[in-house]
Each structure stands twice: as C-alpha cells, then as structure tokens.
C-alpha cells in the first residue's frame, strides 16, 4: 500500500541548528493497516507525517503510495489520495465558511473546480446524511459558520471531510490532543468507526500510550528520527503501557521524555 524507503529529513541543513528529524526511516504499510505512532518530544513523528503529506520535502529516500512515487509531488496533488486531520482544530476547516461549504470543498477533491454551482441539492442531502452519522446534531446546522463550532465538533467535521472522498491513506496528527478527555474519546471512537467502515489505511500520532495500544492494528515507536519499535499481532495484543515504556527505554537507552505522554 505505502512504502517508505530510507527517508531522511534534516532541518536547517548547514547551519548551527542543524537537526536530523528523520534518519533513514523505512516502513511498509499494508492495505487496511491502522498504525498508531508514539514517541518522545522531537522523535520525528510529525515530521514523518508531514513528509508523507508533502508539507516537507525529504532530503533522501522515496515515498511510494499505491505504486505511485509521490516523493516530489506537490502537497495539493497528493492530497487527492491522502486525508488529514491536524492537531489544531482550527487548521482543518475554513472558519468563515459554513459547514456545507466546507464539506463541498472537501467533497470536490479530485473533481474539476470550475464555474458550476458549489452546492447542489443532491450533495446537500448526502452531507446531511453523513453528518447525522457523527451524532453531534450538525446535520441541522449546515448553514452555520464553522467558526461557531467547538474544537471537538470541528475535529469530527474535519474527520468527515478527510474521508468524504475515500482516501488511500488517512493521516491523524495528534488530532485529539487539543480536546478535553470526553470529547477526545468521542473523536477517537469516530475515528475507529470511519477507518473500519471505509476500510482505510491510517497513521495516527498520539501521546496517549493506552490509546496507541487499544486503537489500530499496529504500533510503531519513534526515537531521534528512527523507528525503534514496531509492534503488531499477538506481541502487540499482550502489551501493556508499562511493558511498552520498559521496551522503549531498553531500546532507546533513554528515558521517555514526552511530558504530555507521561502525564496522559
């Protein structure tokens, strides 16, 4: 499904602040796999995701999505196959536009954006039906501006927008980190449902170790720009948060330093 080969990303190359954010990351993702990604501060989790999404260009290595080499493809072009939900709830939606307009923009992925009307009756019915599935009452607020929604509602909407045209890959960058615990749970449940129902392949960065083990089908741990732990199947099923931290410290030779992760 997706192959990442020897990916390397260096920030501030040649300057005193040079930092290797990704150091030879190689990873193969099977169809329908839901990978949770954990790691300390500055481990390279977000950088990896941004390289896949095309926000950053990698120095070395290739990214192949479903047989297409997307390493040098501009961000907007690969977005056709990649759905994204960001950590900041305000990043995934256009705040000054209505819910229906936001959905229409997301639904237009891969279609010509010409002078045809932005919204038609058929699309609206479809949006209403999809919003009903979120169970947040948004189906009655199609004409409300997104700026009026709460963080949780926006993340749920962004999730719907990211999957309304079925993507090959769904990228979730700590998309529940800015939410209060009950809302975070709701959004996580929605995430599970979307990934399951659409049979998506997904990458989810999280700082919640428990969530990393209970959600998805595979867990990778990153440290200093490398993948140091790759868990799936029975080994993963038998893991607890404690054994996971233990394994991490043995592998990394360092203490886990993600403050939020430890507090969470």
């Amino acid at each position: 499904m997706m192959e990442i080969k020897g990916l390397k990303k260096i920030f501030g190359k040649g300057s005193v602040n040079e930092k290797t954010a990704l150091n030879d990351v190689t990873l193969t993702l099977e169809d329908g796999e839901f990978v949770t990604v954990i790691g300390g501060n500055g481990a390279g989790k977000s950088t990896l995701m941004n390289c896949i999404a095309g926000v950053h260009q990698a120095e070395e290595g290739r990214i192949i999505l479903d047989g297409t080499d997307i390493t040098e493809m501009p961000e907007y072009k690969r977005s056709r196959w990649i759905g994204r939900v960001f950590q900041d709830p305000s990043m995934g939606t256009a705040f000054d536009m209505t819910i229906e307009q936001n959905l229409a923009i997301a639904y237009g992925k891969g279609r010509l954006r010409g002078l045809t009307p932005g919204l038609c009756k058929k699309d609206l019915d479809f949006f209403r039906e999809q919003l009903t599935l979120l169970d947040l009452g948004l189906e009655n607020r199609l004409k409300h501006k997104v700026g009026l929604l709460s963080g949780g509602q926006r993340q749920a909407l962004t999730l719907l927008m990211a999957t309304i045209v079925k993507p090959k890959l769904l990228l979730l960058d700590e998309h529940t980190a800015a939410l209060d615990p009950p809302t975070a749970r709701t959004v996580l449940e929605l995430t599970d449902r979307f990934v399951c129902e659409h049979g998506l392949s997904a990458f989810m960065i999280t700082h919640n170790m428990k969530a990393a083990l209970t959600h998805g089908t595979r867990t990778i741990m990153m440290h200093e720009g490398r993948v140091i732990l790759d868990l799936f199947g029975e080994e993963r099923a038998s893991m607890t948060v404690e054994t996971l931290i233990e394994r991490f410290e043995k592998r990394a030779g360092a203490e886990l330093d993600n403050d939020r992760m430890l507090l969470g």
């Binding site: 305000s90 990043m91 939606t93 256009a94 536009m97 307009q101 923009i105 002078l115 009307p117 932005g118």
Partner: protein
C-alpha cells in the same frame, strides 16, 4: 442636489474598484497595493481606445484584460518568486507607472472630448434624461451579481477558503497558488474596469489618478462592513458598494463645506487608520478609563461599572 447625484454616480463607479479590493483584502486576506497602478492602467486603456475612436465597451473590456494581467504579475511575484504580497504589489504598482505612461503615449493626461462613451448608449431613449446614472446602475448591479454568483461556484468556494485557511485548502487537493493567481487577476480586473469607467465618466485619464486608490477601496470596504453589516456574503458585497457611495458622499459634502481639497488624501488615510484600529483604540480607552476610575477624582466622575462588561477575569477587583 446635483452634487449629490454626481457623488452617487462616482461612488457607484468606485464601488467596482472597492469590490476588487474586497476580493484581495477580505476574500484572499492579502492587502494588494497593485490597485493604485491597475486603476490607472484601466483608465489609460479606456481613454486611449476611446480617443482613437474605438468602441467604448471594447475599451472597458481591454481594461479588464490589462488589469487581470497586472494582478497576475503581482500574484506570480508572490507565489513563484516568494516576494511578500505587500512588496509584490508595491513593485507592480511602481512598474505600472511607466507602463501607464507608455500606454498613454508618453502623455500624462489624455482628454476625451466628444468621443462616444458607454454612457451614451441610452441616447435618444426615455432614459436619456437621467444622464449617466442608468448605465452606471446597470453596470454595477451586473458586476455585483456576477461576482456574487462566481463566489458561489466550486471555484469561488476554493478561492474563499484560500483566504480563510491555506492548510485546509491544500489538504483538500486545491492548488493555493493558482487560487491566488485567479483571485488577484480578478481583483485587479475589477479595479481596471472601474478606472476605465471613471476615465469615460470624467472625460480624461491622468497618470496620477490612481494615487491612494487602495486606501479609498479599503475605506469603502470597512465603512460598508461597520454600517451595513457582514451577516451574509451578499450583504457584505452590497455593503461594500454602499460603503463606496457613502465615502464619496461624505467627501463631496466635506469639500462643499470648505474642506481644502489638498487635505483629502490625509483624511482618507486617517479614516482608514482609525477604522482598522477601532478595536484596539476601544481597548485602550477602556483600560485608561478603568485606571482613572480607580483614582479619587475618577470615583466621582466615572459611573460605576463603566467598561466592566467586557473585562476578562483576573483583574482582581
């Protein structure tokens, strides 16, 4: 009364320019200084074509194309060469000064004497007695409606979202650079059309007529928003038009009451500066009034509870 009608007519023509400023400043969220140059560019094309005996409608169309091209240059400087939008606009505005002079054949001023203009199409009909107003009303309404409809298309949605949140737009598979190109082109197209109409309305084009145009546009947008509201998109667009008219009426009235014409630009600049910073100014005033209210003299003078309703907690009193 006659002066008021003149102001109304001028205001409506400038409203087209203000709609262009609205598109760049509000919709795309980029202040575009190209306007000062593209306005004259439109006027220059219009005057040259009309004075050469050309079709006045073709003159406006040519101005539209020229304005769009000017906007494209600004957008490309910004997106492809990564020059800050403000600076890109300044560069194109400066460059356009020479181009405008070239278009005008090296002359700083082109008068239109008896040439046919777009305002003559109702000559010989019942509408003739209303002068230029019918043509202006039709033109502005048409542009307003077309602009509104455009913003409701898929392309229009993508354009609007680009000014709102570029991340989301790219994540939705839209090329934000192309959106900026289309938006800037269209914005300056509007501005040039306005310039073209002004040239035919005033019967001349002058190379200096664009000075401060962007500020007038901003003033119109802001006055419109404050007075007529921003509730829906259509209302916002109408507000821009009314804002432009109101601005022109106020200026005309002030001039008629003895305001020296030399001070006009200064006053426009002050109006926009105050309008842009109104929120901050209110905050300062509240802060100092609250501080003053704490003093012995203030306790007597300031009514209790003044400025409290918007106070964010944690002030300790």
């Amino acid at each position: 009364m006659l002066a008021a009608v003149g102001a109304l007519e001028l205001g409506l023509i400038y409203a087209v320019m203000a709609l262009g400023v609205f598109l760049s400043f509000r919709t795309l969220n980029t202040p575009d200084l190209t306007v000062d140059g593209s306005f004259v560019l439109g006027a220059a094309f219009s005057a040259v074509i009309c004075s050469g005996g050309g079709n006045p409608f073709f003159a406006v169309f040519a101005a539209l194309i020229a304005g769009c091209l000017a906007g494209c240059v600004t957008a490309l400087l910004n997106t492809k060469l990564e020059i800050q939008p403000l600076l890109a606009g300044i560069l194109v505005m400066l460059g356009l000064y020479s181009i405008n002079l070239r278009v005008m054949g090296g002359k700083a001023n082109i008068p239109l004497n008896d040439e046919v203009t777009i305002f003559d199409i109702f000559a010989g009909t019942a509408l003739e007695k209303y002068g230029e107003l019918p043509v202006i009303l039709i033109a502005v309404s048409l542009i307003l409606i077309l602009f509104y409809l455009f913003l409701q298309t898929r392309l229009g949605f993508a354009l609007r979202a680009t000014g709102d949140n570029e991340y989301m737009v790219r994540a939705s598979g839209i090329n934000t650079n192309r959106m900026k190109l289309i938006g800037m082109a269209l914005a300056n197209g509007f501005v040039a059309v306005s310039g073209a109409m002004i040239a035919q309305y005033q019967s001349y084009a002058d190379v200096g007529m664009g000075l401060g145009m962007v500020v007038i546009g901003l003033a119109s947008v802001i006055i419109g928003e404050v007075i007529f509201g921003t509730k829906t998109l259509l209302r916002r667009l109408i507000a821009v038009v009314l804002g432009a008219v109101l601005y022109r009426l106020v200026i005309t009235y002030s001039l008629s009451r003895g305001l020296p014409a030399v001070d006009l630009k200064l006053i426009s600049a002050v109006i926009v500066a105050v309008a842009l910073s109104a929120g901050v100014i209110v905050r300062y005033v509240r802060k100092y009034v609250r501080r003053f209210a704490g003093t012995a003299l203030g306790k007597k003078l300031v009514p209790a509870g003044f400025g409290v309703q918007r106070k964010k907690g944690g002030e300790g009193k």
